[in-house]
């Protein structure tokens, strides 16, 4: 009986440590973002203090406002999402449902493109965009974001299309509906949930992307992940403001992640599960 108690306590401690380890850095950023300039520098670090929204006010409405950067992140992510979905949904439908000669190869190709290291894509893209004057433009960055968002979206959508029973299409075909009408009226409503989940993940990945953004961004296109460097310099780091920017950058993806909670394992492993299944 006693050992059982000890084990339960041990288990509680171990799980407590794990939870603390994962929550703490995020929790600590939130805490620091609510401190004033004195409290944040206090040593030993302060857990209790009078919270203030000064840092948020400063980073949102101060001279170094990140509102334009939030807008930039949003335009990039939304643009990528819309374009990706417009291209991926029809392609995924064809791969999942239609008799296409060589569709296995097509699927494999989509998967193989994901193996390319991003740095190998950005070097040539940098040269091309520089030549056509598309550096620091939304079209330039959104276009290259397709390189990772498309394979992902296609694979995820294929898995949702495969879940629909074939009878639905057959019934529609018997009724004389054209293929396009069938797709629009019968199939798409069936995969609404899948489309929503895919949108969430594509948006999230675009929001978090960093390497392409570092190379292609400038004064016009400047997402939050790049702009947060404004608050760090060799001479001085604006701690509370840096914390506030970090929290603001985290907020949308955390909300999206929570919304897609049930689907997150599928979203994270798509492609590997599917494409790798045979090999």
């Amino acid at each position: 009986m006693k050992t059982k108690h000890l084990r339960a306590i041990g288990l509680l401690i171990v799980t407590g440590i794990f939870i603390l380890a994962w929550v703490f850095p995020i929790f600590w950023s939130v805490l620091n973002s609510l401190k004033n300039e004195q409290d944040v520098l206090a040593y030993p670090p302060k857990l209790f203090f009078e919270p203030t929204l000064a840092a948020y006010r400063s980073v949102l409405f101060g001279p170094q406002s990140i509102l334009p950067n939030l807008w930039s992140s949003f335009v990039i992510s939304a643009g990528t999402t819309i374009l990706t979905m417009a291209i991926a949904i029809p392609a995924a439908y064809a791969l999942a449902r239609l008799r296409v000669p060589g569709s296995r190869w097509a699927g494999f190709y989509v998967l193989a493109t994901q193996m390319l290291p991003p740095v190998g894509i950005i070097i040539p893209y940098f040269l091309i965009l520089r030549n056509i004057g598309w550096m620091d433009t939304y079209q330039g960055i959104i276009l290259i974001y397709l390189s990772f968002s498309l394979p992902f979206a296609i694979w995820l959508m294929v898995s949702y299309f495969e879940d629909i029973p074939f009878e639905m299409e057959e019934a529609a075909a018997v009724d004389g509906a054209s293929r396009l009408t069938t797709l629009r009226r019968i199939i798409l409503p069936q995969v609404q949930g899948g489309i929503a989940v895919t949108i969430v993940f594509v948006f999230l990945n675009a929001w978090n992307e960093f390497l392409f953004a570092v190379v292609l961004s400038g004064n016009t296109v400047r997402p939050v992940t790049i702009a947060m460097f404004n608050f760090v310099s060799v001479e001085q780091t604006l701690w509370t403001q840096l914390a506030a920017v970090s929290v603001i950058a985290m907020l949308p993806v955390v909300i999206l992640g929570i919304l897609a909670q049930k689907h997150i394992v599928k979203g994270l492993t798509v492609g590997a599960v599917k494409g790798g299944g045979r090999r």
Binding site: T15, W22, V119, V265
Partner: protein, 313 residues
Amino acid sequence: MSLAEPVAAPSGAALSPAASGHLDVMARRERRFAAALLAPAFIALGATTTFPLLYLIWTSTFRMDLAMPFMDGFVGIENYRQLFADPRFWQSLSVSMIYTVTTVIAQVILGLALALLVMNMKRGQGLFRFIAILPVVLSPAVVGMVWRSFMLTPEFGVIDYLSISAGLGSQNWLGDPFMALVSVIVIHTWQWTPFAFMVLLASLASLPDDIYEAAKIDRAGPWQRFWRITLPLLRPAIVMVVIMRTMVALTAFAAIFTVTGGGPGTATEILNLYAYRKSFTELSIGYGSALAVALLVVTILISAVLFLIRRAK
């Protein structure tokens, strides 16, 4: 994978010539429809992945220096010859290997341990599942920034505070080559262990209960049950996690870039980062391209090995 599964249709051979002719028309129509649906995706993928790859290989055969454009010109395999003799390349390759192997092993072991722990919990599973989402959805750049500033800054960060409190003194976490490498490994592991945890937990939950019941009746101890039943049944999921995490670790960028920028010196410069720095900091695009091609080759070799392991039963 049922990509090539045909839409249920009777085989044409059993039908009259007229009917099979009709089917031909149908099949051709379907093919045309499919081609129209697929075309945008393949054009876009070709333009954003295949074409850059070919162009990359092409530029890797040039001397292309944005700082000294007058020296540019075709050099054939010179960049690759230079690469083999470049100690910084070998150094970055070994940092890549250390970084990849340690982070992947740590993620799998910690993720598996946590999954087993949570699996046996009667309450609070939901809390774990919820918390596990947080690091995974965050931008690695933001994660890097948070760790670098609020956790690791000497005499300010929490980790440093803990180190001082424990009597180990303040450490220059990111200034010391060894500590910097450990730090970026820990940060990557922190962010991605929840991924392994979630995948392995899902896999654990799908294992059949009756095997365990049978094992208990046969008086198999917990360790025996783990080694003989759980681990073999989880093997496919573990191998999948290893493959996915290896690919990501090889091309890790944002967190290392934000935390150390590859430094101090080249202590945390994985091959991916070296290719970036060569191309965009030192503006030596031709040689940077060769480094990126080398990274691609390394990626392909490693994934080939991993897929062979996956296939071997």
